[in-house]
Each structure stands twice: as C-alpha cells, then as structure tokens.
C-alpha cells in the first residue's frame, strides 16, 4: 500500500462497539462516547446525540490528540495514553485505542472524572481487542464498491464542482 493504509468498518464491528460503549455509558453515567479515527473521521457514536457539528469535532479531536502525542515524545514519553479537558459543566476524556482510533467521552456533573476513569479501563481493553481484530483482517474480506460507482461519482464531482 503506497498511500494511507486502508481499513473497513463493518456492521458487526459497529454492533460490538455499540454494546461496549453502551455498557460503559451505563456504568459511568457519562453522556456520550465517540470513536474518532486518527485521520479525523468519526467512526461511531453512542449515548446522547451531541448538539455540535460532529464532523468538525472529529477533525479537531484527531489534531488535538496527535499534537499531544508529539508533545509526549518530546518529553521522552512513548505517548500520553489519555487526555483530560475540564470545563465548568462539560468535560472530555480521550483515550488511545490500538494507536489508530481515539475514544472520546463527554460527561458533565452527573458523574466524576474518577468514576469515568475507573469504568473506562474495561472499555479500552475491549475496544483495543475489537480494533486490533479489525485492522488485522484489513482488506481481506471487505466488499468493494460496485463497478458503476466510479462513473457516477465522477458525474457527481462535475455537478458539485462545476463542469
């Protein structure tokens, strides 16, 4: 593979991840859990639907996490496995999963950082497993796009960007 490494995300992956995230939200009283890929794409969300622009949020999260990753290396750390941003009402906790995606937990004063950190550990272990499996099977079983896809996509590009 010459460009970015590819991976696919299937419905059974989604179900496994959803059940891990729901269990975690139930135990921790956090509001929302999101999985964001390190390239800045939203992979999965669970819990309360966030009111903000999720696409923008995902790109900023990935940038935030990777900037902090570099800071960790400058300090001689391999990584900061997790980050915490505290607000007056809303806080967020970010944890690395399999070096490829980021778990983002949004919570308010219905819970505490201590409880979130305690409960997130199990979720992180389980998610690491799911994503490691997913990356290992990479490209072997993913159904591609249909053959008509390319022509139709080109037509849409002409329409959207003017021909």
């Amino acid at each position: 593979m010459s460009g970015a490494s590819s991976w696919s995300f299937r419905e059974d992956d989604s179900r496994r991840i959803q059940s891990i995230l729901s269990a975690f939200l139930g135990e921790s009283n956090a509001r929302t859990a999101l999985i964001v890929d390190r390239t800045g794409q939203m992979v999965s969300t669970a819990g309360e639907t966030p009111a903000f622009d999720a696409t923008a949020f995902a790109s900023l999260t990935a940038a935030d996490f990777s900037a902090n990753d570099q800071l960790a290396r400058m300090l001689g750390e391999n990584e900061f496995g997790a980050l915490f941003h505290q607000g007056e009402r809303e806080s967020m906790y970010l944890a690395d999963i399999a070096r490829r995606v980021i778990l983002v937990v949004l919570f308010d004063n219905r819970t505490t950082l201590g409880l979130v950190k305690l409960r997130v550990k199990t979720a992180v272990v389980q998610l690491n497993q799911v994503f490691t499996d997913m990356f290992n099977r990479d490209g072997t079983s993913a159904p591609g796009v249909e053959s008509e896809f390319l022509g139709e996509a080109e037509d849409e590009i002409d329409k959207l960007f003017g021909s």
Partner: protein
C-alpha cells in the same frame, strides 16, 4: 484510502493542500466554501494566527451525496506553509488520500516552493507514504501577478517527473488538461511520469475547481 464505513455506509476521502507559506492554500478552501452549494458543505474551521496565517490547519468537509448506497465525503485540509510549523504540517498528512501542492508562481518564491516540495516528499516518506503513488496535483497559483515565472520554468523546478518502474504504467499518457503535453512518456529512453498541473488565481477562484475536480476524480478512482 482511509476508511470505508460499512456500518454507516460512508466513505470519507482526505485531500490535503500543501505548499509554501502565503502560496494561497487557505484562499483555495475559502473559494470552495463560498461557491459550493451550502447544503453540500459543512462549516469551515480555521486554526489561524491573528494575522490569518494558518497555525495548524483549515478544514472543510464537502458532501458529494449518496452514490451506489454510500455517502461520499471529501475532507479538505490545508497545512501551515511557514517553515517552522513543520511538526503540525506533518500531522495533517496522516491518512491522506490525495495531495494538491499549491505553488506560488512569483519568481521570488521559487526557493520557497522547492523547499516546500522537498519537505512534502520527506514528510510523506516519514509516514510511509509515497507521493508519486497516490493522487497528486500541482497548482501554479498567483498567475495574475506580473512577476509570475513562466510555466515551463516552474515545471522544470517543481515537476521534473519521476521514473515509472511499473511496466503496466509504461505507456504514453497525454495530459488531458494541456494539448500536446504528456503525463507519462519516454524521455531519453526512460519512462517518466509527471503530476497533472493547473494554473490558478485563487483570489478570484480561477483554476480552483479545475484542480479540485482533477484530484477528487483521481481519489475516487482509487476506491474501485
């Protein structure tokens, strides 16, 4: 490509605008933002200094619509061109599907262009990517300025071509965008490939969509 999400039936493609400081990368995205139908694009995010120099990145999601059951989106990013922002520039390349190099045509910026191009190759290599093997286009911007260098000069400096080693790609390929020019051809017995190039005045929007159309079509081809 980065990811096909079969659960949400989404395909996201990451396009990165790279190039020297003040070359016009942010201006390209601003033009796209202003001209694409509002329903087809999201918010533009700019992490910039007070003087509007890009500090970390600009980000603009553009929605191509649903094609054969997949929602296809392009995520457009710019990097900060200023030399000392290299660390953040490199981060943005992660997961890139296509690169547009925005060169500043002004003669005085020739060295800055060359340095930025070398920096692109280095940063791609450090991620384990090869810019000659993914969709890649060059935009010669600021063609409106009187001190713009002639295109052949820019081509020689920034787009001299790379050797084509894959036999299946060793065939004469005309440049669809310029008459009697070639993207792949033999030169002194060597097969050579060049990136497609476009002239632009990003400030007025000239050439902005030609560049974007070409790179996005090439990215879509890699999905098949």
């Amino acid at each position: 490509m980065s990811m096909i999400n079969y659960a949400s039936r989404e395909i996201n493609c990451k396009l990165v605008y790279y190039g020297p400081g003040l070359g016009g990368k942010t201006t390209n995205l601003e033009h796209v933002y202003n001209k694409v139908a509002p329903a087809s694009r999201g918010k533009m995010i700019s992490l910039a200094t007070e003087t509007e120099r890009t500090l970390f990145f600009d980000f603009l999601p553009v929605d191509l619509g649903t094609i054969r059951g997949f929602k296809v989106k392009f995520h457009l990013y710019t990097v900060p061109g200023q030399v000392y922002y290299n660390a953040s520039r490199k981060l943005i390349l992660k997961g890139v599907d296509g690169v547009v190099f925005v060169a500043d045509s002004q003669i005085e910026r020739m060295d800055a262009n060359i340095e930025a191009m070398q920096n692109l190759y280095e940063n791609m290599t450090q991620h384990g990517y090869d810019v000659t093997k993914i969709p890649f286009a060059i935009q010669y911007n600021k063609r409106d300025l009187p001190n713009a260098a002639p295109i052949p000069e820019l081509q020689t400096a920034l787009n001299p071509g790379w050797p084509v080693t894959d036999p299946s790609k060793q065939r004469v390929t005309p440049d669809p965008y310029h008459d009697s020019e070639y993207l792949v051809r033999q030169e002194d017995g060597q097969w050579v490939e060049r990136a497609p190039y476009f002239e632009a005045v990003a400030l007025t929007g000239e050439g902005v969509f030609d560049t974007l159309k070409a790179i996005s079509k090439n990215v879509v081809k890699t999905l098949g």
